[in-house]
Amino acid sequence: MSQVSTIGPGTTVRGSIRGEGDLEIHGRVEGSVVVTGEVLITESALLKSDVRARRITIRGAVAGDVSADESIVLEAGARVLGDLGAPQIGIRPGGLVRGNVSTGGPLAETKSAPAAAASASRARPAATPAARPAPARAATPAPAARPVAARPAALPAPAARPAPVARTAPAAREPAPSATRGDTTPSAAVVAARAPVEEPELDESEEIDDAEPIDGGPPPPVVPALRKGAKASLRRKGAR
């Protein structure tokens, strides 16, 4: 395989980074990162970017969504403002995240839409793709891909979640190279489009439920049990 690619601590990339191989990021990236191998985001890294890869390890700061085909690990020092999606997710003590976290697999492709974004940027620098990604998102049979209930609830309070703003910013602000614009804008559009999409109340589905032992069964043998056994705190409740 080719050498490990490295974005050094003194280096800033505005635009998209994609391709095959592994990538170490010590510096700054504003745009998007999509690679086939492993990505290591170190303590000194600052990303305003979505990140997709096979495996991702984070010790630095990321404003953007993080999606892996295999695993994501947030180690001490990691600060992620955005969603995490991968079959395996580890958050070590000292790793912080504010966003939706799902071990259901990688995040839906439409979210960062790297391919569409790249081609769009080449076709027309002044991209106005607002309408395009939105229907795709709406048409997605969403819950299967992103079985996370919290998103709709969290959205009405955008102030509490500055991520979309952060993501939109580069596109809005910079007359930057076309790639930057093309790559960031669609994700903003998707974020905007997400709001009206009512995701259904989480149904009783998936792996959690097959381990869910509670059936509609008989009401509890609980009260007697509590009274008899509980001596300390629980007794008060039993006695009520």
Binding site: T12, R28, L46, L47, K48, A61, A63, S71, V73, R79, L81, Q88, I89, G90, I91, R92, P93, G95, L96, V97, R98, G99, N100, V101, S102, T103, G104, P147, V148, A149, A150, R151, A154, P162, V165, A166, A169, L202, E206, E207, I208, A211, E212, P213, I214, P220, P221, V222, P224, A225, L226, K228, G229, A230, K231, A232, S233, L234, R236, K237
Partner: protein, 132 residues
Amino acid sequence: MARGSAVERSRTSETSESSSVLGRGARVRGRVSGDGDLRVEGQIEGDVTLSGELSIDQTGSIRGDVDAASVTITGVLQGDVASRGAVTIRASAKVKGNMGGAEVSLEEGASFAGRIEAEFDLPAELMPRQGR
């Protein structure tokens, strides 16, 4: 485990005086609240509010919202967590719910779906009004 002693005060000397256990065969439907710690080996369907630590064992499950000083999940939780301290989700856990806690740690292999709300500030460079 005997039904009658399903919820009992732990008598082992090293645990705190107000530590309780909901035994493996036990099932609670309704709200559980109290001081001290609780270890859940059985099933609870209802909200749990504790002043102490909550641990959900591998055989344990809670369907309901949980509020405790710290929470350790090895079994199943379907509900939101509010914790003043650490929330620890072990590899065997299956969790669906939103975590509001000072520190949430998640072991690889755990099944998790929900929102984690850690309090932190991103570096100024990543905030919307970035220089350069």
